[in-house]
């Protein structure tokens, strides 16, 4: 019998291109608003699980140590977890370990990213994610691997750039209703397809933006959760999986790391038919094609049939399986680690019927959030239910 763990509070900052606040201050704001949302203070928090992506963005070695006081970790057990871009959702898995292990009753999960400090551009620091000896001399940039993967995926199923653009249009449309969103403009398929070509087949609007922001959730054991709220959202399943670092030796058309991670989480949650048993999905969407790629890995859409379902409205807010009702990274913004946690916040609000204009109809009872990171090789999956 596993110990039951609930999400009892959630909160976030606005996502912006360049924030006035320092990384610590962003973390503080997300932490404070989360504690306020469930009427708690830092004294009620047993431990901190936090996350932030590459130290290189901040130019800070041991960035997790620097962040500690912003996350409320002063004089507490504090541990930073790291799976690159997947950190935002993985930190929730990491927080679940803290409470489900029986070591703690409450755990505050805080993720932050400030990408605007890096000059000339946060992207430059992605050169150093590649193998230092066999790849870096080629002067690669981050877009390469996504472009290579997107091209392979499209080629495999005969998808077009217009097909992929539909995701950007839909998510950005959803994001317009998110109070923390970085965007205020609607885009069309033509806008996306005709936006500046960065690395074929990736155009500028296929990509989520560079952002600053923070997001947090509070986890509690069953005993504490029942005392705090009559609407706890339970963590029913967690899974994560990391594929080989020799990324060029995998066939990029299918995210098998997502497949393995999802099966682990579904297994724990007792889910046999995910496409029927899950009512709302927040797959990781830093690029438009990625949302579809991940839906297939999450077993929420048959391989190669995802564009058809997308065109039929299957993934719309009022469709059979609403996808990224928050707007996702494309629609709200992508402060890397914080963006993942934002997806878990969204499921918390959706399952409690608190998502305002973005609310998925029909009282969704179960949701899945997934993130992706490292060298296109890791997925973390969280299944929640009420």
């Amino acid at each position: 019998m596993m110990r039951k763990v609930a999400i009892v509070g959630a909160g976030m900052t606005s996502f912006v291109r360049r924030a006035l606040e320092t990384p610590k201050e962003l973390s503080y704001q997300a932490t404070k608003v989360t504690l306020d949302s469930c009427g708690l203070t830092l004294d009620d928090v047993d431990c901190i699980a936090h996350g932030t992506a590459p130290d290189a963005f901040d130019g800070l070695h041991q960035n997790g140590e620097y962040m500690v006081d912003g996350c409320g970790g002063w004089n507490k057990p504090t541990m930073r977890v790291y799976v690159g871009g997947g950190t935002g959702i993985h930190a929730v898995v990491h927080g679940w370990h803290h409470v489900a292990s029986g070591l703690f009753d409450t755990c505050l999960v805080v993720c932050e990213e400030k990408m605007s400090s890096a000059l000339p551009h946060a992207q430059a620091f992605f050169l150093t994610i590649f193998d230092s000896i066999t790849e870096r001399p080629l002067e690669p940039n981050l877009l390469w691997i996504f472009a290579l993967e997107m091209n392979r995926y499209m080629e495999r199923y005969g998808y077009t750039k217009e097909d992929m653009a539909l995701v950007a249009v839909k998510n950005k449309q959803n994001g317009l209703k998110h109070p923390a969103s970085q965007f205020s403009e609607k885009v069309t398929v033509e806008d996306v397809v005709n936006s500046e070509m960065m690395a074929y087949p990736v155009s500028r609007l296929d990509v989520s933006p560079v952002s600053d922001g923070a997001a947090a959730v509070l986890l509690a054991s069953e005993r504490v959760a029942r005392r705090l709220t009559d609407k706890p959202v339970w963590i029913e399943g967690v899974g994560w999986s990391l594929d080989t670092a020799y990324w060029a030796t995998r066939d990029l058309y299918y995210p098998r790391y997502t497949d393995t991670a999802a099966r682990m989480a579904y297994d724990m949650a007792g889910i046999r038919e995910p496409d029927k048993e899950i009512h709302v999905a927040e797959p990781y969407d830093p690029f438009d094609y990625k949302a579809l790629h991940h839906l297939e890995g999450l077993q929420l859409s048959p391989r190669g049939k995802t564009v058809e379902l997308l065109r039929d409205g299957h993934f719309d807010i009022d469709g059979n399986l609403p996808m990224c009702p928050s707007g996702g990274l494309l629609g709200v913004g992508n402060p890397i680690a914080a963006a993942g946690t934002m997806k878990v916040c969204e499921l918390f609000w959706q399952l409690r019927g608190e998502a305002g204009q973005r609310q998925v109809p029909g009282n969704p009872r179960r949701g899945v959030a997934q993130s992706w990171g490292d060298l296109m090789q890791v997925s973390s999956v969280v299944v929640v239910g009420n």
Binding site: M2, L60, M79, I129, G239, A245
Partner: protein, 387 residues
């Protein structure tokens, strides 16, 4: 969730000031292979989850987590990295088993600090970019500040700190995995050039390359895998504040060590650590740290550590032998793998595999690691031969 967790495998590789023969991935492969052999020849496919402890800047890689799976045999397995000391990584691995979702988890860490040209640059990049970095000082000035305040508050002497160096480097002569073993005189240490007054160059541990992998298992699986399990009775970690000027008890004390050990002792049901702990491997990144940590860990009273050291209390034949392995001063500093290096000696001693430095009749040991300047983070683990 009340599951007991055992350490069932230990493997290591490297342990040199340079290790040019192997890449870090090859070095970890060697350590992992030894660890899995030590656990009865388990294939990594049978391991449920893996935890690495690392810092990007140490490796010169953004997202060092990417390069973790292959050399541990963890392709398409649950893997994550903790950017912390490897005892925090151990805590993550242990918590995973206690949830009931995993039964066997590996924890790894390594140092290839020899591949890095200016480690002190990194240390200064860990200080506050607005308040501290503009001073443009060698970052070890922070250790100087701490040491001076510690001596002032407790009455501990400069010579007592130097005697930590003598003890640990002498102990290291019996450890084949130690690189800085030596028989020194007091004047060698006190007369050495200053690094940042009152800290001298011999008061700081030297760099070391190496990899360590340990394998953890739930009680049921532990009994199947090995006949020499040792048990993690308690674990704890804590952080004071990253702001140097607002630590809760000032620069002179190690609150993180107090909090981390309190958590570990509570879990292990230890009320009187001096009586219940047989020996300890305690962070001695700088000489004064061993004494400061001994007090914070409640292995002696405040201000007593220096005097007890001189009485031989912490020598291999003393009441509580401390850093029989040589510690970081004698063996070399393994950076994020520091905690696993402390733990490794505790495991070897408890199993009776510590060779010429084997202690007699030891049942319970303490491992404690600190994350180095400028941090105020530490982690403690109580390990025992009894479940």
């Amino acid at each position: 969730m009340n599951k007991k967790v055992a350490i069932v495998g230990l493997g290591f590789s490297g342990f040199g000031t340079t290790t040019p023969d192997l890449s870090y991935r090859e070095m970890i492969f060697e350590a992992a292979t030894r660890c899995y052999e030590d656990a009865g020849g388990i294939h990594p496919q049978a391991i449920d989850s893996f935890v690495a402890s690392s810092e990007d800047f140490m490796e010169g890689i953004s997202i060092a987590d990417e390069y973790v799976p292959d050399q541990l045999g963890a392709v398409l397995k649950p893997v994550h990295s903790i950017t912390g000391d490897s005892l925090q990584g151990l805590a993550s691995a242990m918590m995973q088993i206690k949830t009931g979702q995993q039964n066997i988890v590996a924890a790894s860490a390594f140092s290839k600090v020899s591949n890095l040209s200016h480690h002190e640059h990194l240390v200064s990049y860990a200080t506050d970019p607005v308040y501290i970095r503009p001073f443009n000082e060698n970052p070890y000035f922070i250790a100087g500040l701490e040491m001076n305040r510690y001596l002032h508050e407790t009455g501990t002497t400069r010579d007592q700190c130097a005697k930590v160096v003598l003890k640990n480097r002498y102990n290291a002569l019996k450890n084949p995995g130690a690189c800085y073993g030596a028989r020194l005189e007091l004047e060698d240490v006190t007369g050495a050039p200053a690094l940042s007054y009152p800290l001298g160059i011999y008061d700081m541990s030297g760099h070391l390359d190496g990899a360590i992998v340990v394998l953890l298992a739930s009680e049921e699986r532990a009994r199947e895998l090995t006949d020499k399990p040792v048990w993690i009775k308690g674990i704890g970690w804590a952080t004071d504040t990253p702001n140097l000027d607002s630590r809760i008890e000032g620069m002179g004390s190690a609150v993180y060590a107090k909090l981390a050990s309190q958590q570990a002792y509570r879990m292990a049901d230890i009320n009187n650590p001096f009586n219940e702990i047989d020996f300890a491997e305690i962070d001695d990144t700088f000489s004064y740290k061993e004494l400061q940590h001994l007090e914070a860990l409640n292995l002696c009273g405040p201000g007593e550590a220096g005097r007890l050291l001189e009485l031989g209390c912490f020598s291999p034949d003393g009441d509580i032998p401390v850093n029989v392995s040589g510690g970081s001063l004698g063996a070399g500093y393994l950076h994020e793998a520091n905690g696993l290096q402390r733990l490794m000696e505790v495991i070897l001693q408890l199993r009776g595999e510590a060779g010429p430095r084997q202690l007699l009749d030891v049942e319970t040991g303490l491992a404690f690691a600190w994350r180095g300047v400028p941090t105020a983070t530490g982690a403690a683990a109580v390990i025992s031969t009894r479940p």
